[in-house]
Amino acid sequence: MTDKKKVKKYFVKIEPDECKGCERCVNACPKAVLKMGTELNFMGFPFAYYVGAGCVGCSACFYNCPEPGAVTIFEVSDDADGDSEKEEDEED
């Protein structure tokens, strides 16, 4: 794997109106970069949000989330000036 090491950046987006505030993603994030807000969405639920940096694209939040489209994880290509920190991609 060492020869395949490549620095990748990730960005996670939580759609406020698709989140039901169950906190599964918040609990699952190994980097603790997801938090619960206090505002309520159109369904009346508080919703989670990304603190803006530190996502490693591990997909834990995506697969823990019971909603189809609340969580989207993006890969940001190298030349983009994303806010995400440089991390080793954990290939599976």
Partner: protein, 501 residues
């Protein structure tokens, strides 16, 4: 930061879902109906992802059970069918048997699968149907408000076990995976959980494996998924995961119980027939044009009322088929007829009897309780048993090769024919019932039929014989011979032929 062209979706809304859930009533079209943190949502996501990845959307049918997932067809961009509570595996069986290329998913809760539908489930498993069962075990009846399920843990409080499940009263939780893995037919059985990211990854793998098996037509796969119903259990998501991990997984150990797909060949079953005409031809083969024309009206007044015929003998004498021939004859002459057999648990050797009712009117009930108009008796014990049931002025026809002349009141009209002896001479004792039929044709002409009803009447009997022995062509001739022999024998004994009624 905002999305820009340098951002590529790595994990996002699956193409297995509809973009918007138009089937879902109300204003919410992007979300599912499940409570926050519900296990069903996670399982749905994994299923949608598999189906999109395997590219099997156009031939996948998922059956929605009764339970919280009853509306799962709102969400998936493939076929969905609702089944009555617990019947998903039966519906799945029909779908996959009708078209073996269908990828059929039976999605079920623990109440649905483990309680009301357990027999449907276990039989489908035992038949090795080529389906994937995703069994969402949340240990509770979610939809109806948190009642105890077959998988509720000992001591677990639910709406219907307020002091905790008692194993002495309610028994132990049902270990479905262990039970189904013990059967020979299923090929893949695994229990997984949604308690952690790692466990969800295993669930994802298991669901994909079940799909792969189904695509390969290897047979029955089941994935039992320990899931949360945080709302009914009054847990937050952290407590829910801990409960699954520490309590549920303790009682229901995770792991693969069976994985033998490699050792099995793809299932091949006879192809279904979907052409209406073909099905009709198979069920009701038309052999020869039979019977009188549809507008033929029987004129014999006697048939204004029901004529009740009883035939009795021992099993193996052809009692039931004799009855069937008479009923068929009646049918071919446009009578309304019923035929009702009655025999003991033993196939042969015991007593057997059947009743036939013929009428120009509708027959109200096929049951002849006492009082019949015509009694046909083929052995001595039946004579003793049924003679008292013969109505006043009733007709008795019996096999005089084995039965002694009965003592009965003057009003009875008696015909005897040495049916067994004649049949033996013709070549087989088995056609004794056709000899009786021949005798009956004489009786009917004498006592039941009037005017043009008598015309061509023997043809109806001949046709009835051909009809009843349609799958034994080689014996038709012998039975027709027996029929005429019976007819002749009775006619010869009539010194004073009875006038028609």
């Amino acid at each position: 930061m905002t999305e820009n062209t340098n951002m590529k979706v790595k994990y996002g809304r699956s193409k297995g879902f509809f973009e918007t859930f138009e089937r879902r009533p109300g204003a919410i079209k992007k979300n599912m109906h499940y409570c926050p943190g519900c296990g069903h949502g996670i399982v749905h996501k994994l299923i949608a992802e598999s189906i999109a990845d395997f590219d099997i959307k156009d031939r996948t049918i998922m059956i929605a059970p009764v339970g919280c997932s009853v509306f799962s067809y709102y969400y998936y961009d493939y076929f969905g069918i609702s089944a009555p509570h617990g019947r998903a595996p039966a519906v799945a069986t029909g779908l996959v048997r009708a078209n073996p290329d269908n990828i059929v998913v039976s999605y079920q809760g623990d109440g649905d699968l483990g309680a009301i539908g357990f027999n449907n489930f276990i039989q489908a498993a035992n038949r090795g149907e080529n389906i994937a069962v995703f069994f969402v075990n949340n240990g509770i009846y979610g939809m109806t408000g948190g009642q105890m399920a077959p998988t509720t843990l000992p001591g677990q409080k639910t709406a219907t076990s307020p002091t905790g499940r008692s194993v002495t009263n309610e028994g132990y939780p049902l270990k479905v995976s262990e039970m189904v893995a013990a059967l020979d037919a299923p090929i893949y059985v695994e229990r997984v959980s949604l308690s952690s990211t790692k466990n969800i990854a295993r669930t994802r793998k298991a669901i994909r494996k079940a799909f792969q098996n189904t695509i390969d037509k290897k047979g029955f796969s089941m994935v039992e998924i320990l899931a949360g119903c945080p709302v009914n259990m009054k847990f937050n998501s952290r407590e829910m995961n801990e409960f699954i991990e520490n309590q549920m997984q303790h009682y229901f150990p995770l792991g693969c119980f069976k994985d033998i797909a490699d050792t099995r060949d793809p299932i091949k079953r006879p192809e279904g027939i979907f052409d209406k005409q073909k099905v009709k031809d198979i069920l009701y083969p038309i052999k020869v044009a039979k019977g009188v024309s549809a507008d033929f009206k029987n004129e014999s007044k006697i048939f204004q009322k029901e004529r009740k015929i009883k035939i009795a003998g021992f099993g193996g004498q052809g009692v039931l088929s004799l009855g069937m021939m008479i009923a068929t004859m009646g049918k071919l002459r446009n009578f309304n007829v019923t035929w009702l057999p009655s025999y003991g648990p033993e196939m042969r050797g015991g007593t057997a009897n059947c009743t036939i009712i013929t009428s120009r009117q509708k027959v109200c009930s096929p049951i002849v309780d006492k009082l019949c108009n015509l009694l046909i008796v083929l052995n001595q014990p039946s004579m003793e048993m049924f003679l008292p049931e013969l109505k006043q002025n009733g007709v008795l026809l019996y096999d005089s090769s084995t039965i002694a002349p009965p003592k009965c009141s003057e009003d009875k009209i008696i015909y005897a024919v040495k049916a067994s002896d004649i049949a033996k001479k013709i070549g087989s004792l088995k056609c004794a019932n056709s000899v009786i039929l021949g005798a009956l044709s004489v009786v009917m002409k004498d006592y039941f039929l009037e005017g043009k009803d008598k015309k061509d009447f023997d043809r109806a009997f001949e046709e009835a014989i051909m009809d009843c022995f349609a799958d034994k062509q080689n014996v038709i001739q012998m039975n027709i011979e027996a029929f005429y022999a019976g007819k002749e024998a009775v006619e010869a004994t009539l010194t004073n032929p009875h006038p028609g009624v």
